[in-house]
Symmetry: C2
Subunit: 253 residues, 2 copies
DNA sequence: CGCTACCTTGACGGATGTCAAGGTGGGTGG
DNA sequence: CCACCCACCTTGACATCCGTCAAGGTAGCG
């Protein structure tokens, strides 16, 4: 396993105070993997997995009975993703860009972590965060219009991978319009129409297929159905400065 | 705190092998509460809470900006519910029937549980289960039609509180049509129309406002968009015999 | 027995899915 | 470096499902 990836894992998931022994044992059960864009991250089918994403971007998908796919979440470096054993649920993880991952069998991971309750608590805290994100997603899908979903999605992305750019925030979206639609419960056509509409109102601008610039964050937040907290920009700055992002287990957008 | 409620908590959440001391300390920080139907379960605002539902039924709701409410989950006895600190998220827990609950400050609970990693793992396991349920809910809300949502909801309820009744399953739903709609992202009218339609097709029958009987579970499962696993009945029998239900942290339907 | 909250039914309109027909970006190979 | 090609995106016309508004009906409780 490349030292660089595991070091990232150690920094982000294991607190600073973890014994070298625990770290050692975890590195022994972790399966490193390098995956090319559009390929599946191969996971052992012998139980639930905890996957650490060291580099790249992924989507977590469910295959529906009709062979279509629904995107549960997008993930970015530093995320810890819980993937249940692929029995019938048919959850799988696909690379949106070239990826480096470390996959741990969940049971072994947790057994080792029992020796170091702080690690267990870190995992629990991230899982609770994932649950909150998933709840938010459920609200979004249940109640919001297409435009609200799209703007909410863009703002969530801004929080996660946006970079300040003058008065705007610049996004380099690794996922296709289809992926966005599959994540928000919309068709690709509706996604496209909403992008066009936001572009016509100068709330966003786009360059090529993946670059999106968000202007007027406050107006976008209003469109997303938020309640006037125009601190997205501030949050991003704070986060990029400290180098800490909330991270998640499997419910990031 | 009534012995009966805490005993239930001990049986369901604490494994049999927990030290008397841990159990004792948990009972000291747990706030017992009896709540009447339609009232709010009052929680300390000083941090996240873990609420054990010993008796009754509850809904976990979010107040939307427009003062409407969205139901995140319904809960039943034995569930452990994670309720984040009510900052702006405005999540609250309402009793659908007379309830008995024990509320623990999450941080204190987890600190005590660190002495007994098996408890921490139980909580983590339940949280992961809640995450799975929430993911399922997200899929349901994102992709399914009104009829699929309703039938899926009824089958989920059958798994949780259904009792076998000849060839059917009988449900005594503690929540109103409005609550069901708020949970599935539908209006009360649409819920009502779908009930009527299912009734006309003899897939369900109703008595009064809260009794629902499900016939033809396999057909209902098809309507729900499931993939032909007609084992719902079997699962319920097995569960009611063993007295064990999966339980959840805050994402039950 | 009557009141009230809750449920049911109907008519209508609008947001979004579906179907269809181009247009465009970006990577590949010459 | 350019041209080509394919996947991806955009736009339009139309259909449909569900939300909205409105008007009763009914269960369950006092």
């Amino acid at each position: 396993m490349p030292k660089e990836s595991f070091d990232r894992f150690r920094r982000q998931i294991l607190a600073r105070c973890v014994s070298a022994q625990v770290s050692e044992r975890l590195s022994e059960i972790g399966q490193f993997q390098q995956t090319r864009r559009a390929e599946r991250i191969v996971l052992s089918a012998t139980g639930d997995q905890l996957v650490f994403l060291a580099e790249g971007a992924t989507k977590l998908i469910v295959r529906m009975p009709d062979a279509s796919e629904h995107v549960l979440a997008f993930h970015f470096p530093g995320d810890m993703i819980y993937v249940p054993q692929p029995e019938q649920g048919a959850i799988s993880m696909l690379a949106l860009a070239d990826c480096r991952t470390i996959a741990f069998p969940a049971n072994s991971f947790l057994e080792i972590a029992e020796a170091e309750p702080s690690v267990l608590r870190t995992i629990l805290a991230r899982t609770l965060l994932a649950l909150q994100r998933c709840r938010n997603k459920a609200i979004r899908l249940g109640r919001k219009s297409a435009q609200e979903r799209i703007t909410d999605f863009l703002l969530a992305m801004a929080d996660r991978i946006g970079v300040p750019d003058g008065n705007s925030i610049r996004l380099n979206l690794p996922m296709s319009r289809r992926d966005i639609g599959n994540s928000l419960g919309l068709t690709i056509e509706t996604v496209s129409r909403q992008f066009t509409e936001l572009r016509n109102e100068h709330l966003i601008s786009t360059a090529g297929r993946s670059i999106v610039r968000l202007h007027h964050l406050d107006e976008l937040a209003t469109r997303a159905g938020h309640v006037s907290r125009s601190n997205t920009q501030a949050k991003i700055c704070a986060e990029s400065k400290s180098g800490l992002r909330p991270g998640a287990i499997a419910a990031a957008d």
